[in-house]
C-alpha cells in the first residue's frame, strides 16, 4: 500500500513540478530559505505543503518513517519556529541549525538522572519535546521572532 502510494506521489510530484509551482522546503531554525532544498534532501524528506497563515508560512515535510516537520517562515524568509510529530525524533542538528550548540549545552546541564520531556527555556531559544517510542513530538522557536498574530502555544 505504501509503495503504491509512493508511485502515485512521484507522478504527482512530476506533474506539479511541470506546472512550476513553488517548492515547499525546509530550513534550519534561524536560517533563511536559500539553502532549504539541501536541508530537505539531507533528511531525505518529502515536501507536503506550504500553507500561508497570516503574516507567515508553514512549510511541512515528511521524513522517511513518517515524522512530519513543520517550519514556520517569516515574510522576510527566516525560519522562526520548527515543530515535529511522528514515530521518530528528527535529526536535531539539522533542524536547529546554528542553535544546536545552545541546545546541546542546555541538555548537558539537566539534573538529576531520569527520563522526561525536555523543556529548555532560554533567552532567545525555547525547545520542548515529549512523547514516547513510536509517537514523539516537539517544537523549537525563537521567542523574539514570533509574529504578533501567532501565540507560542499555537506552534505545533
Amino acid at each position: 500500500m505504501v509503495r503504491r502510494s509512493m508511485t502515485f506521489a512521484s507522478w504527482l510530484m512530476l506533474g506539479i513540478g511541470w506546472l512550476g509551482l513553488s517548492c515547499p522546503a525546509l530550513a534550519a531554525l534561524g536560517g533563511d530559505l536559500t539553502s532549504v532544498e539541501a536541508d530537505r534532501a539531507h533528511l531525505k524528506a518529502t515536501s507536503l505543503e506550504v500553507k500561508p497563515a497570516g503574516a507567515y508560512e508553514v512549510h511541512s515535510i515528511q521524513a522517511p518513517g513518517g515524522t512530519i516537520i513543520r517550519e514556520y517562515v517569516s515574510p522576510a524568509g527566516r525560519v522562526f519556529a520548527v515543530a515535529w510529530h511522528g514515530p521518530f525524533i528528527p535529526e536535531m542538528q539539522q533542524i536547529l541549525g546554528s542553535y544546536f550548540q545552545q541546545y546541546s549545552a542546555a541538555l548537558g546541564a539537566k539534573r538529576p538522572y531520569g527520563r522526561r520531556p525536555l523543556n529548555i527555556q532560554q533567552a532567545g531559544l525555547v525547545v520542548q519535546t515529549g512523547g514516547h517510542m513510536g509517537a514523539y513530538f516537539g517544537r523549537a522557536y525563537l521567542p523574539e521572532m514570533l509574529p504578533s498574530d501567532l501565540k507560542a502555544d499555537e506552534i505545533k
Binding site: 505504501v2 521518530f88 535529526e91
Partner: protein, 428 residues
C-alpha cells in the same frame, strides 16, 4: 494497531503531496527460580547503580530490574545484569556492552543480509547506538529464546551522523551517562518499530547496516527488530502489571513487582476495581483544567500515556499558573519540573477514546521539585514530582502515577483471555 495506524497516516499524508522534488558482568548460571511465582520479576526504585558510588548521582524515580542474558542455547555463557530501567513506554532490551563484556552474542541481520545496528533516540535528547544481537533472556522465572536485543556500543566509532546528530555527548553508552545498565522496554507493542522499519520506499533512521561506511539505514524484518521480550515468553506473554506500593512523600527506596501476563495465572487476573481503557495510537484521553487532551488519530498526537520510564507526572498547564523550576538552581537545571510555592492538590480524569463513558479520576499532588530534591537529597522515590509537557499535548503519567496503583499494560496483537479486549490497552 499502531502499525496499521501509521501505515494509514503515511498513506493519507502522501495523498497530500504537492512537492517538487552492568552491574555484574561476571559469567554465571541463570538464577535458580526463587520462592515467588515464575511470572514475577522483582523491581526496585533505589537510585540506580551510580547512587552507591562515591559522589554518586541518584536516578530519581527510576524503576530497575535484573535480567540474565545468555548466548542462545547456552546456560553457562551468561551475564546477570542488574539495574535495567523498566520502561513501559518503550519496547526492547538494550544493555550496555560494558555491563556484559564477557558475553559474546550472535549478530542479527537486516533484510540486506548484513549485521543490523540500531539507533534509538529519546525525548530527553539522548540516543543509544549498537548492534542487534540474539540472546536468551530470563526475567524472574520466565525465559525468552533468541530475542533480538540492542547491545549499546562502548565505542563511538562509525556512528552515523543521522543517529548522533554529530554530537556524541548525547550517546549514553556508559553507566555514568545512562544512570542504568540498560533499558528493559516492556511497552504496548511487540517490537520497537514495526512495519515502517521492514518495508517501504526509504528506511527511517532507526536500523542501519555498516558493511560499507558510513553506516546507512536499512530495512529489517519485524522478526529481527529489537523485541519486547515479554511477547517471546512461551506463556504469560500478553502484557505486564507494574505493582508499586503506595508512597506518601518520598523514600530512599521502594520495592515492587513486575508481573508477566494478564489473566493467565492466579496472580495476574484483572482486578475488579481496575478500569480498562482501550486506546487510539497507544494513547488515551485526559481532561484537566477544563481542557480535553484527546489523541488526533491522523497525527497520533495530543493524547496521554502511562510510562514507567518517565520519572515524573508531566502535563501541560494551559493557564500558565504553575511556576516551572529555574534552569540555574544550586543543584543544576531543573526546568523540566514544576516548582510551585507550596504543594498543589490537582485532579485529572482519564477517558477511553473509543468509549467516552469509561473514565477514571486521579488525584495527585505536585510539590516544589527543588525543595523536594534539596530536603530529601538521599531519596530516590518521589510521589509528588511533576513537570511540564508541551502545550497542546496531554499527560505523560510517569512513575508517581504507579505508587499504590497496579497498572496493567496489554500488548498489541497478543492472545487475550475471553472477556478482555484485544490489546493494546491499559487498566488500573
Amino acid at each position: 494497531m499502531r502499525k496499521k495506524l501509521w501505515a494509514s497516516i503515511l498513506f493519507g499524508s502522501l495523498g497530500l503531496v504537492v512537492g517538487c522534488g552492568g552491574g555484574s558482568s561476571s559469567s554465571s548460571n541463570p538464577s535458580p527460580p526463587n520462592s515467588s511465582p515464575a511470572n514475577v520479576l522483582a523491581i526496585t526504585i533505589d537510585g540506580g547503580p551510580t547512587a552507591t558510588q562515591s559522589g554518586g548521582a541518584i536516578y530519581t524515580n527510576g524503576v530497575f530490574a535484573t535480567a540474565t542474558i545468555c548466548a542462545p542455547g547456552s546456560n553457562s555463557n551468561c551475564a546477570k545484569v542488574d539495574h535495567l530501567l523498566v520502561d513501559t513506554g518503550s519496547m526492547g532490551l538494550r544493555v550496555l556492552q560494558s555491563a556484559m563484556s564477557s558475553l559474546k552474542l550472535p549478530a542479527v541481520n537486516a533484510s540486506n543480509g548484513s549485521a543490523a545496528f540500531n539507533c534509538v533516540s529519546f525525548v530527553d535528547g539522548s540516543f543509544l547506538w549498537g548492534p542487534v544481537q540474539g540472546a536468551t533472556v530470563t526475567l524472574g522465572g520466565e525465559t525468552a529464546s533468541n530475542v533480538p536485543i540492542q547491545v549499546i556500543s562502548s565505542s563511538t566509532t562509525n556512528i552515523p551522523t543521522s543517529c548522533s546528530g554529530n554530537n556524541l555527548a548525547h550517546d549514553e553508552n556508559t553507566q555514568t551517562l545512562l544512570g542504568a545498565n540498560g533499558i528493559l522496554g516492556v511497552g504496548l507493542e511487540p517490537t520497537d518499530c514495526g512495519s515502517i522499519c521492514s518495508s517501504g520506499a526509504t528506511p527511517p533512521d532507526a536500523y542501519y547496516t555498516c558493511s560499507s561506511l558510513p553506516c546507512s539505514p536499512a530495512f529489517i524484518s519485524e522478526a529481527n527488530q529489537v523485541a519486547n521480550p515479554v511477547v517471546m515468553f512461551s506463556k504469560d506473554n500478553n502484557g505486564v502489571i507494574v505493582e508499586l506500593p503506595k508512597l506518601s512523600g518520598s523514600a530512599a527506596s521502594v520495592n515492587g513487582s513486575l508481573i508477566f501476563g494478564i489473566g493467565t495465572e492466579s496472580n495476574n487476573q484483572l482486578s475488579s476495581s481496575a478500569t480498562v481503557f482501550t486506546l487510539v495510537c497507544d494513547s488515551f484521553t485526559t481532561i484537566f483544567e477544563n481542557q480535553t487532551y484527546v489523541v488526533d488519530p491522523q497525527t497520533c498526537t495530543g493524547g496521554s500515556f502511562i510510562d514507567s520510564g518517565s520519572n515524573g507526572l508531566f502535563f501541560p498547564d494551559v493557564n500558565n499558573s504553575i511556576p516551572v523550576c529555574s534552569s540555574k538552581t544550586p543543584i543544576g537545571d531543573l526546568s523540566s519540573f514544576y516548582c510551585p510555592p507550596s504543594g498543589l492538590s490537582l485532579s485529572a480524569t482519564n477517558e477511553d477514546p473509543n468509549n467516552t463513558s469509561t473514565t477514571k479520576k486521579t488525584n495527585f499532588t505536585v510539590d516544589n521539585a527543588l525543595n523536594l530534591f534539596t530536603a530529601s537529597s538521599s531519596d530516590a522515590a518521589f510521589s509528588t514530582l511533576g513537570g511540564l509537557n508541551p502545550p497542546n499535548y496531554g499527560f505523560d503519567w510517569g512513575v508517581p502515577f504507579f505508587y499504590g496503583v497496579n497498572v496493567y499494560s496489554a500488548i498489541d496483537g497478543q492472545p487475550m483471555p475471553s472477556g478482555l479486549p484485544a490489546g493494546p490497552w491499559w487498566a488500573y
